[in-house]
Amino acid sequence: MSLGEERLESIRMIRDSAAALAPRKDLKRVRALRFSEPGFDRGLWRQMCAMGWVGLRVPELEGGSGLGMAELCALAEELGAALVPEPLVAGVVAAHLLNGTDLADHIAGRRLFIPAWQEWAGSLEFDGGEMRLRDGRLSGRKLFVPMAAGADAYVLSVPHGVAIVPAATEGMSRDLEQAQDGGHYATLTLAGVPVQPIAMERRRIADALDEAALATAAYLLGVAEQAFALTLEYLCTRKQFGQPIGSFQALQHRAVDLRLQLALSRASIGGAAAVLDGEAAPAARQAAVSRAKARAADAALLVTRQAVQLHGAIGYTDEFDIGLFLRKAMTLANLYGSAAQHRARYARLTPSTAEATA
């Protein structure tokens, strides 16, 4: 499953440019954007588009970068490590659902489309039938639309396809809820909004959401890795009882256990990316994504919780950075499916009889 030299090189380049655009150690920008509207920087978003990131998965023929999931995961991990609030994962999902000039505008950063697929809390269903389309008019509700205040338009999943609704449309209201990480989610309520639905295969939307789940897992891995790195630093510098607290064996073992979880997450995510980049059947693809997302969600919450614990009281202050990582993990852990949902989906998709696992 190892990647060829060429892809490893492209992944290295992506990591380097992500680190240059969003330096890990400087969280001043991230702090300044918290609890503001739209909660991210459109200037930086355009730069991200110019780097080809939003169109990373779009084929070159359609103006995108035509890169694989391994590349997207590497990018998401780097952005996670820097707690970047710009909605890359949502942007990549939208790119999957757009065509023509909409797609071109979106990946060039001229217009930002944000996907709105969810109709129930804690559900992976995107066509739950809560949207009513009658005589070209759309009614219903979409939940947990990320960074919605910065969108120029929304891509809504509707029966048999998608519909595009500009942000300021009569008949659509937008209620924002603040998130722990300083971003926000919107509930969109539509009452007879005229739309022109675009027919789309179910599979295409489902694939986009699976990619989002895996990219979110990678983003969570970045969050956890950086929280862990900061914690290791702290274990080496913080002194109590006349010695660095990292010299206490109880804490050394704790740190090792966290490292193990990070290593497993990385392996799981890398494996799932390879499956998506290959030719596997849908069930195998989805199972791989579920395995990686469940692991990454649990690991990121564990690592960031322990990061706060190992910092002591200073970790519980808002002005010290380590808490930002915990809040980010809280915000992302259950998006595109919680660990429990993904475990359930994995069980459904893969046989677990004695013969099958032998």
């Binding site: 809390a121 722990q180 109590q240 614990q309 809280m330 259950n334």
Partner: protein, 395 residues
């Protein structure tokens, strides 16, 4: 007789009667008292209340002589037996009574009663009871947390006063307090535990500065407190110079059984039950199993807690094994809130409770539970204590 004096006489007879009741009847009385007097809207608050919000209730307790269950009657306390104190605490907890700034009642009062001069008792105790003095605890410093005895805030004697320089931190509700009790270094040459004294400092002394800090729940609950050449009268030193450490340590056992009581976990479990109902997953097998597990754990913890409470009731003092309680309670509380987060879906990452329902505050409770394994001696430190002083392991 003045009204105040009449009130006092009346509450004295009532306190006599309360003390004479058997435990079950006493429990009923406490319940009735809370139902009559405790403001409904302050039950089970989502965040720690500030003095301005809780003051009327504190004054109600004060008027009835109910502020200090553990203090002796001669000092204005309720003079309850250990058994009744525990019942009092349990009833307050299960009614969802908010925690008032209680450092004066729980920490300082008992310390003054045991070690204070007659003049200190006479001056400070009534002012704690009346709510005139609100105290905060100034022990921790930026570089002295788990290793508290390494503290560096210094007091130097100059004539009839001490001059204090240094910084305290993580001081809970310092913005609400008008007095702070601090551990200060008074002998730099001595072994670290032996050069520490216990000082009482008015917060409005020139040179005292308070900076509130936001915590992860975005609440301004703890603070930094700076001392810049603060003059404190010598009379404000409690006990003997350089004996502050052993006095402060003598009170830790109580703090551990207090945090080790099942209240936080019981509260979290209630919230969990409300959450699974709201999410409609209460009957799902996975959920049933997890919830049952938490309920069983809570029952086991409560039984363990009762064995410690029994010891207190019999008048025994608690040994270092009380750390078992603190570790288990805090970690159980955290596991419950972690499960809440796990099932809360997207709401796990939102700032406000689910659908605006105050009881469904999964994210907030999760964050609040984080500190319990840090304060009052971290879980790691409690494990060190147990390994060394209970298991007698080498090293």
């Amino acid at each position: 007789m003045s009204t105040a004096a009449a009130n006092q006489a009346q509450s004295a007879t009532q306190l006599d009667e309360l003390n004479a009741l058997d435990d079950e009847a006493f429990r009923q009385q406490v319940r009735a008292f809370l139902r009559t007097h405790y403001p409904e809207e302050l039950r089970f608050p989502v965040k720690r209340l500030h003095w301005a919000q809780i003051k009327p209730w504190y004054l109600t307790l004060s008027r009835h002589g109910w502020v200090a269950p553990g203090w002796a009657r001669e000092y204005g306390g309720m003079g309850l037996s250990a058994a009744k104190q525990i019942i009092y605490m349990e009833e307050f907890e299960s009614y969802g009574v908010a925690r008032a700034p209680d450092m004066g009642i729980v920490m300082l009062g008992p310390l003054l009663i045991r070690y204070g001069s007659e003049a200190q008792k006479q001056f400070f105790l009534p002012r704690i009871l009346s709510g005139e003095h609100i105290w905060c605890q100034g022990y921790s410093e930026p570089n002295s947390g788990s290793d508290l005895a390494s503290l560096r805030t210094e007091a130097v004697q100059e004539g009839d006063h001490w001059v204090v320089n240094g910084q305290k931190t993580w001081t809970t509700l310092a913005t609400d307090a008008n007095w702070i009790f601090v551990l200060v270094r008074t002998d730099r040459g001595a072994k670290k535990q032996e050069g520490i004294s216990f000082l009482l400092v008015p917060m409005d002394s020139p040179g005292v500065t308070v900076r509130p800090l936001l915590n992860l729940d975005l609440h301004d609950e703890f603070c930094e407190v700076f001392f810049d050449a603060v003059k404190v009268p010598c009379d404000n030193l409690v006990g003997q110079v350089n004996h502050g450490w052993s006095m402060a340590k003598a009170l830790l056992g109580f703090e551990r059984i207090f945090i080790g009581s099942p209240k936080q976990s019981a509260y979290a479990l209630k919230r969990l039950l409300a959450l699974v109902e709201h999410l409609g997953i209460a009957a799902e097998p996975l959920c049933v199993e997890r919830v049952a597990r938490f309920r069983m754990e809570l029952e086991d913890h409560t039984l363990l807690y009762e064995t410690f409470a029994e010891r207190l009731k019999r008048g025994e003092s608690l040994g270092p094994d009380v750390s078992l309680l603190k570790i288990n309670q805090c970690e159980l509380y955290q596991r419950i809130t972690e499960y809440m987060l796990e099932i809360a879906g997207e709401h796990a990452g939102l700032l406000e409770p689910i659908d605006g329902i105050r009881d469904l505050n999964a994210a907030g409770l999760f964050l609040q539970s984080r500190v319990t394994t840090i304060y009052g001696g971290s879980s790691e430190i409690q494990r060190n204590i147990l390994a060394k002083h209970v298991l007698d392991l080498p090293g």
